[in-house]
Symmetry: C2
Subunit: 624 residues, 2 copies
């Protein structure tokens, strides 16, 4: 497991400059940047000298830099720059660049976003104009808004993959990736390159995020990433085969798939801290109305129904993300490896993969942020101290919602795929793969029993659990159909594609959400049944699956108007489940495998000595 | 208006040390603390020397310290310490303390929360034991968990109102406020007082928050706040008259009422920035499917339906908070002034005031945080830079959800009041005041028209608007009744009060939410009709009221099972409203009156030169 992998190599990251991360919160912006750079340098040495670490980190991808130390932004080299190289470079380019990149002989940023454009990548303004006289591209930033803005690590990297509009002989062939060197081996900027830093972010640990402006910077023609498309010596553009045109997104898809795993680990981390703290934290008299309330003792916060509702929801979601993260990675690997091996049918899977990962990335990261913040809130005042761990986590969890595909845009991609599916179904093409469930017959109101009793406390788990899946699938199909119908009606009225989409955008976002939630629930259900034996573990995991599915139906009961006549029975079942889950809660969080070393949280300590920890941590303040 | 008041005195806060707040984000923790202290010292001088500022700040309460400069935590003296003095000190105590407090001759913290107890104030562990020999109280922290923890400003204040269990002759009379001096006039700690700092918080601007431990600290008996209860020289405890027992909460209620205003100003601030930026930000081709998409131009983000849905929701909520903030302040003033003037019937209003403010504080601050974060997200990557203003705002908006009454606890207070109301209704006592609406006849399904058409695009505003109010009121009554019935059933099964409440806690939270939302909607509707003339302004404000009410029904359609058969008509009406609101959006945010000086946001600039501003702000980074 990932935790075991971390434990095997974490010994390499002890001592200075790794051991004073708890003082980072006191540093000035510059001091923090310098400290992080020092750590990056040391980490580079470790990477070069430890084959075990290199293998776990790069071949097996079981540890991240951020798992091992308070890192700053060296990770981007491995999660964005390197995968792009691996999948988009020609064989010749790989021979030239890959070994050095893997060994950190140079460090690369992923320089796509500009001041003026993030989501609309096709409108990037940076230009790469082919100069046939010298066989070079001229990389240039023609406007203020064309400045590269946001790339992680770019302030202190030596290279970058720069995305720019490729011009040859006066024709624009759209945006492409180019290898551009920012600094020479003395660290000085290359001619025409201006690199800077963009200032403090809401996540205080982010320092090294950069901007770059290019003034007629020349790179060899060789530096156009050329696995799928090329420019000849004569300036002729040879396009990628149509089927492979989407393969240029495989790097971004890899990151998005990784972000589903990130949603898991952030949620799991926050919920571990919350469960541990709220078992220790006692607040509120057991008998508040008695004369001698003080003597009645106090409740552990985790014994309150409302906090169970919230905390176990996050717990269930963490497991759900985990199961879907595997699914996403496997789906991605199947398509990527097929395409890389030259299998043409594998390329057919690209649109579906893209739509699936777009939805997963959007709703897992969005929900993870919500849940981490909910866990932070349930810790009361203590969740405000950075020493709690959950505070910083809530900050960190916002980034993936926006970066690497802004969440609204990605949801719309999924929605477009769903509309296509519905159109095919209208033409009697049976949906397959990730949307095969849309073939299922619609749920009938009778299935829900009188007053929703089929989801009530009296119903058997064995019937409730598949019914929930059917309900979520049915909802998704209905939303997709409604979306497509609304869109088609706008088109029939004469709207263009974009106009029509804009008229149904609220619904489109929801349809993408419904589809993704169904997928998460199905993976959750199926993986538990496939990967566990009958017994208490399976029961505990199925209870979590049931809880989160019931909560999703209960909180969105309005999506089931006409099917559901009453939601009270669902709430009653939820409340009973909460009581059943309570005895397993600690074990289920322990199961994530976080140690004190991972959590770095005064509240999440395994030994429960939270008050001592809070006090001692506060004593570190240089003001004391 | 508040903005005018700010404009009148902001000139006093120019020049050093007030003019370098934009560099605060680069400072170390210690540097920031020192800078904030410097500003507090200067602000104190201004307060002492400017009668106009003192009047606007203290008599008229139209400006806050935080409105005028990047303040740190001097504000707590005025919002917590001083109101407590004003309402809980005896006349003699006022003569001794009030003038000095108003003039900032000393600075006081509000030292209630301890390491071990926040919400359960009755379980505070600090003791104040009367010593009849010396006519003194001995203030003592007997345990680690009894350390005062969290009080804002406490690290650098001279005094504090310390809450402690009052013991006399071996009897505990519950917790009371005591005036305790922390430091002498040289700034040295008084004997037995240990004060420290608790470390970095998620809001990086919070430095001066402290802890305090007392070792047998002696204060005169005089220092027990004695307006309502006293201890005699002989150690006899004279309790407050029962009716006034809740009056000791009036200080907290004042803060909570102020927090409704804070929810308004944070939401309004964030939505102003979002509207301005998203009118400038163009992203996404108008014709993305055309061969020459680039030439089609790009949409302003505010022209996308989904972003309108989110941004106008926040806009409508900001206005709703504003209208309810007045209501809360007036309600509070009526009761407080009545009680202070010795009017006994005014004291009867305390429980209702308490329940109303508890709900308002909870759901306004909770929703404000959600909305500010949503606005930050809609700015895409730029919302991550602290220079955007919205990033810090999202951080700041979390604090009021927890501080001065944790939101869950407060919601439960409101829920208890609702249960009492239902019990009285069952006994045929007509509900009055804030719950009078519960007398209204239930909504009948027919009122909603076929397929929810009565809320659809074809219905007349004049019928939709009151219907929405009826629906929200009906929902609140139903939830309150359901809650009371569930609670009563548990009691009938033998549960104690606390056990029964814990069995229905999820529902209780929602019932409090429904009641508060109804109240917000009603105030919104009524104030617009009462305070505006017929005309475009009234129309624009009523559209916002209608929008947010429709959104609340649409997003919670599951609360109307059995009444509503279809929510599609509601969404269609919402989408049409969004188009109608769009032309007013800029004017409606300008109406809040924020200037660039207030917003301190690269994105919210009135002149729209956002890219220049972002770039220039980044250049300030000491790394550049
Ligand atoms: C911490 C962090 C690290 C990053 N690291 C990198 C990096 O390493 N390399 C890199 O290249 N970039 C990086 N980015 C940039 C990131 O990829 C962009 O922020 C992201 O793609 C969104 O683009 P944007 O910021 O320009 O927002 P915009 O695209 O301008 O979005 C603003 C708003 O417009 C809306 N919007 C835009 N288009 C549409 C549409 N067609 N329909 C409806 N709504 C629309 C969005 O939903 C959003 O609400 C990073 C960003 C952050 C915050
Ligand atoms: C920035 C900031 C500034 C502050 N300033 C001050 C100040 O100036 N002076 C001061 O005295 N204090 C101050 N506080 C403390 C603040 O008032 C407390 O944090 C707040 O009252 C909550 O108490 P707690 O932190 O002990 O949380 P707890 O009460 O321990 O709450 C933890 C969790 O338990 C739950 N819980 C507790 N009791 C119950 C119950 N009966 N039923 C169900 N759930 C329950 C809560 O919902 C919460 O989820 C400040 C706090 C912050 C964050």
């Amino acid at each position: 497991s990932r935790q075991e992998a971390i434990n095997r190599v974490k010994g390499l990251f002890t001592g200075p400059p790794f051991d004073d991360a708890h003082m980072d919160a006191f540093r000035s912006y510059r001091e923090l940047f310098e400290k992080q750079s020092e750590r990056a340098v040391e980490a580079t040495k470790i990477l070069r000298s430890s084959p075990e670490f290199r293998s776990l980190h790069q071949q097996q991808r079981r540890v991240n830099m951020a798992d091992l130390y308070a890192s700053g932004s060296l990770g981007i080299h491995f999660v964005a720059f390197l995968p792009f190289l691996e999948t988009q470079a020609s064989d010749e380019q790989k021979r030239r660049w890959l070994a050095g990149a893997r060994n950190l002989e140079y460090i690369g940023a992923y320089a796509q976003t500009e001041l003026g454009h993030g989501s609309n990548v096709r409108a990037l303004e940076t230009t790469a104009t082919f100069d046939p006289l010298t066989d070079e591209f001229v990389i240039h930033s023609p406007t203020l808004t064309s400045i590269k803005w946001w790339p992680t690590g770019m302030y202190a990297s030596t290279h970058g993959i720069v995305f720019a509009q490729l011009y040859s002989k006066g024709t624009n062939y759209g945006y492409h990736g180019f290898m551009v060197q920012f600094r020479d081996d003395q660290g000085h900027l290359m001619p025409g390159v201006e690199v800077g830093e963009i200032g403090p972010k809401i996540d205080p640990r982010n320092t090294n995020i950069g901007y770059a402006r290019f003034t007629h910077v020349r790179v060899p023609r060789f530096n156009l990433f050329a696995r799928n498309q090329q420019l000849t010596r004569e300036g002729e553009y040879i396009a990628a085969p149509p089927k492979l045109s989407k393969f240029k997104y495989i790097g971004m898809m890899t990151i998005r798939s990784g972000m589903v795993g990130g949603a898991y680990s952030m949620t799991a981390n926050a919920v571990t801290t919350a469960v541990r703290y709220l078992c220790i934290r006692r607040q509120g008299f057991k008998d508040s109305t008695s004369e001698n309330a003080l003597a009645s003792g106090e409740h552990a916060v985790l014994d309150y129904q409302l906090h169970q509702y919230r905390v176990f929801k996050a717990l269930a979601l963490a497991y759900a993300f985990h199961f879907s993260s595997r699914y996403a990675n496997e789906f991605l690997a199947r398509v990527r490896d097929g395409v890389m091996a030259g299998d043409d049918t594998a390329a057919d899977g690209l649109p579906e993969l893209h739509a699936t990962l777009a939805g997963m990335k959007t709703f897992c990261t969005w929900t993870a942020h919500q849940q981490v913040e909910a866990m932070r809130k349930s810790c009361g005042g203590q969740g405000f101290l950075r020493a709690s761990g959950v505070g910083d986590l809530a900050q960190a969890a916002t980034e993936p919602v926006t970066a690497e595909g802004e969440h609204v845009i990605l949801a719309l991609q999924t929605a477009r795929f769903l509309m296509k599916t519905v159109r095919e179904m209208r033409r009697h093409l049976a949906p397959v793969g990730s949307v095969a469930y849309m073939r299922e017959p619609p749920v009938r109101p009778e299935e829900l029993g009188e007053r929703g009793g089929a989801l009530g406390p009296g119903a058997l788990p064995a019937s409730v659990r598949p019914l929930l899946l059917r309900l979520l699938g049915d909802r998704s199909r209905r939303f997709a159909e409604k979306l497509e119908a609304g869109f088609a009606a706008e088109v029939a009225r004469g709207a263009t594609f974009d106009q029509a989409l804009n008229k149904v955008m609220v619904l489109a976002f929801r349809a993408a959400e419904c589809h993704t939630i169904y997928t998460l629930a199905r993976n959750n259900h199926d993986v538990v049944l496939q990967k566990t034996q009958e017994g208490p573990l399976r029961d505990a995991l199925l209870r979590l699956y049931e809880l989160i599915s019931l909560q999703l139906v209960y909180e969105n009961a309005g999506d089931f108007l006409g099917l559901l006549s009453d939601a009270d029975a669902i709430l009653a079942r939820i409340n009973r489940l909460l009581e059943q889950i309570r005895p397993d809660a600690v074990a289920l969080t322990d199961g994530f495998g976080f140690t004190d070393w991972n959590l770095k949280s005064t509240l999440g300590r395994f030994d429960g000595n939270v008050y001592e920890a809070i006090y001692e941590e506060a004593k570190l303040s240089p003001l004391n």
